[in-house]
């Protein structure tokens, strides 16, 4: 049996399970469509939320990011988990008590304003759209590698599957499918890590392996010390110290945390459980399930870095392990023999006068056209040649993408084929679960918040679900289009946008709405607009116009500016609300009421 057969079997089985679940638990009413009827158990909702939260990018690239940047990557690890603490103790129990189906609903009612609702709908759609494009692209890439089809067909197949169970099944179908997807993801992520930890450190738990001794090289040495030594020898920064300034680390982590706590597609997940106390339990489960993967990622990253350098650096190309060629073929690794010695060299920026370790010019490798002669396609050692111009300012010869760390790990460690097949199924589960959750928020934002609450208040229950299905189809069509024609540079940069916007708009508006009775419409809208405009302007100026890093405000990169935008939002909101009339009596009573935990009932959509 070949690897391909195994991949087919694993993915086929997982798909059959997902679709079976989706058909069995499809939604009938708006209540089931939006919030799964409000009767999901805390444990199941915890798994589903974890699967929803962890995207294909997290699953595939996070360990790679940790491997490449060591300590600096802690901002993602802490930011994306710490946000759940904020979300749980400041937001969701109160929003659940408020008892509406969407986040713009809360903003619109709490600030008694259609404008506020409109701003919230706009932000929700933008944030979800940004995310879902990346997911569709991810599904397409995995499918195209698996079945040898073009990325375009891969994206379309992925889109059809997502539409089938997200569009038809609604929140109920999605939730139970995501439970299955989480299980696949968790096994796919941890099993290879356990094998590798045993091979490299003799410990079963990867997290223990990370802090114990490296034993594969004969003599036992502290693992992280070995990693630091390898890094500094090759001219990289020490693995455990990092390069980012403290203020930057602080701002980026804070922006990611507050952004997480303001992401609409995560918040709505907690409307599916029975009552406020179930929300609290469910949030514990969610973070626990996320932690299983987030605690494993730093270990995988560190192991992969040691493995990669040990197996490839200063090895002749002919003797290099088989997977190097496989990944060259798929364009995920590349080798340029700059000094013509037939050996692979991998050095960091400190070994070059220009302070870079780029192998070639440009961000990604590009290749000669297929019709080129063999001499143009392959070098004298059989390596795949690139069309990129060689960067001769440094001696580094090896390029690899971030994705490689998770995908190549089982190959590097020589794990059995079924582990690799499981990993493939896990990647697809990660992408599908996130895409489905986002699609649902997109469709409800359009059908419920935009159509029913702003444009057509007399919409019937049945029509609303019909609109939701049409909206999810349209949203998916747009996402598929951008998955096929990615605004390539754009996608990576819009992640900064999504978190920055969530942190500088939703987070303060929700927080003040919950904890301050005095906060009024004028304050909240002025705050949101100032926060968004500042963040949006700063990111646009530095990412898309000609801003240069030396103009950064206090050295804060666009990634972390959402935190400053959030502070501006708070300041403006309090200032404006102090000079404008207090909110009406019934709104003040509503705020009082959401702090009383009992009597939340089933989440309604009215």
């Amino acid at each position: 049996m070949t690897q391909d057969h195994l991949n087919f079997i694993f993915i086929g089985i997982s798909f059959a399970v997902y679709i079976g679940i989706a058909i069995k638990s499809r939604a009938g009413s708006t209540k089931e469509y939006y919030t799964a009827g409000g009767g999901v158990s805390p444990l199941a909702n915890g798994m589903a939320t974890a699967a929803d939260w962890m995207s294909a990018a997290t699953f595939i690239s996070m360990a790679g990011t940790v491997a490449l940047s060591g300590y600096d990557a802690s901002r993602f690890l802490m930011g994306w988990t710490g946000g759940f603490v904020l979300l749980t103790i400041l937001m969701v129990p109160y929003l659940r008590k408020f008892n509406k189906a969407t986040v713009p609903d809360f903003v619109g009612d709490r600030y008694y304003s259609k404008l506020a609702r409109g701003v919230a709908v706009g932000c929700a759609i933008f944030i979800c759209m940004t995310y879902i494009m990346g997911q569709m692209r991810g599904v397409g890439v995995v499918f195209s590698q698996l079945f040898g089809i073009s990325i375009t067909s891969g994206v379309i197949i992925g889109g059809a599957i997502v539409f089938f169970y997200a569009g038809l099944g609604g929140m109920k179908g999605i939730t139970y499918t995501q439970v299955a997807q989480y299980c696949v993801m968790a096994f796919a992520y941890t099993i290879p890590a356990i094998f590798i930890a045993m091979a490299m450190t003799g410990n079963v738990l990867p997290q223990i392996g990370l802090i114990s001794h490296y034993t594969a090289g004969g003599e036992a040495v502290p693992f992280l010390e070995k990693l630091n030594n390898i890094n500094t020898e090759l001219g990289f920064a020490e693995y455990t110290s990092g390069k980012l300034s403290t203020i930057n680390m602080f701002c980026i982590t804070a922006a990611l945390m507050c952004g997480t706590a303001g992401l609409p597609h995560v918040i709505v997940r907690f409307f599916t459980v029975k009552n406020v106390s179930a929300v609290r339990k469910s949030a514990c489960w969610t973070l626990l399930f996320i932690a299983v993967i987030y605690l494993t990622a730093p270990a995988i990253g560190a192991f992969a870095r040691v493995n990669l350098i040990e197996k490839l650096h200063d090895t002749s190309y002919q003797e290099a392990p088989y997977w190097l060629q496989e990944f060259e073929e798929t364009g995920q690794m590349a080798w340029i023999d700059k000094n013509d010695d037939g050996k692979i060299q991998y050095y960091g920026p400190a070994k070059s006068a220009a302070g870079t370790h780029a192998v070639f010019q440009g961000k990604k490798p590009s290749y000669p056209i297929l019709e080129a002669t063999d001499g143009q396609l392959f070098g004298k050692h059989g390596q795949r040649l690139l069309a990129n111009k060689v960067d001769t300012s440094n001696p580094n010869e090896l390029w690899f993408g971030n994705d490689i760390m998770v995908m190549a790990n089982p190959h590097m460690a020589g794990l059995p084929m079924w582990v690799i097949a499981l990993l493939m199924a896990g990647c697809i589960a990660a992408a599908l679960s996130t895409a489905a959750g986002l699609l649902l928020v997109l469709s409800t934002s359009i059908s419920h918040d935009l159509m029913k609450k702003i444009l057509k208040p007399d919409l019937s229950d049945k029509d609303e679900v019909r609109y939701a299905r049409v909206a999810s189809f349209l949203a998916l069509a747009v996402a598929v289009y951008f998955g096929i024609n990615p605004p390539s540079q754009f996608i990576a940069k819009t992640v900064a946008f999504a978190f920055g916007l969530a942190a500088s708009s939703f987070f303060p508006a929700l927080l003040m709405g919950i904890f301050s009775k005095r906060m009024n419409r004028e304050g909240a809208i002025a705050g949101m607009l100032c926060g968004i405009l500042f963040t949006f302007g700063y990111i646009t100026y530095f990412q898309f116009l000609d801003g240069t890093p030396d103009q950064y405000l206090l050295g804060i990169t666009p990634e972390g500016i959402g935190f400053v935008g959030m502070l501006i939002n708070f300041a403006v909101a309090f200032l404006v609300s102090a000079f404008t009339p207090a909110p009406p009596q019934e709104v003040q009573e509503m705020v009082e009421n959401i702090h009383i935990p009992s009597g939340s009932g089933e989440a309604s959509h009215h």
């Binding site: 940790v66 300590y71 990557a73 802690s74 690890l77 802490m78 988990t81 710490g82 759940f84 603490v85 904020l86 749980t88 103790i89 400041l90 129990p93 997290q207 223990i208 990370l210 802090i211 114990s212 001794h213 502290p222 693992f223 992280l224 010390e225 455990t240 110290s241 403290t246 680390m249 602080f250 982590t253 804070a254 945390m257 029975k274 009552n275 406020v276 106390s277 179930a278 609290r280 339990k281 949030a283 514990c284 973070l287 626990l288 932690a291 987030y294 605690l295 730093p298 927080l511 003040m512 904890f515 301050s516 009775k517 005095r518 309090f574 702090h595 009383i596 935990p597 009992s598 009597g599």
Partner: protein, 88 residues
């Protein structure tokens, strides 16, 4: 946030939330970022990992999970004390 909560239940909740947020801040931003270098150099290592680095990559996440468990437990107890329990 400015208004003083009058209700005893609400006051107790707020105190609990602020207490948990203080822990949340000190394990992540405190140990993992602001005082990391000092902790790396002076605090005892976790296994072979420098303390601040370990907190940033593992310890903070473990603390977050514990925080939420404590939150759910104490809040549910607080609700019960003030008569807000519901059947699950």
């Amino acid at each position: 946030m400015k208004d003083a909560p009058s209700h005893p239940h609400r006051r107790a909740c707020l105190r609990l939330v602020l207490g948990l947020l203080a822990v949340w801040f000190s394990v992540s931003f405190g140990c993992g970022i602001l005082f990391r270098e000092w902790l790396d150099a002076n605090a005892p290592q976790i296994g072979s990992a420098p303390f601040g680095f370990w907190m940033a990559q593992q310890g903070a996440i473990i603390c977050f999970v514990i925080l939420l468990v404590v939150y759910a437990f104490l809040m549910n107890r607080l609700d019960a004390k003030h008569g807000y329990t519901e059947d699950n």
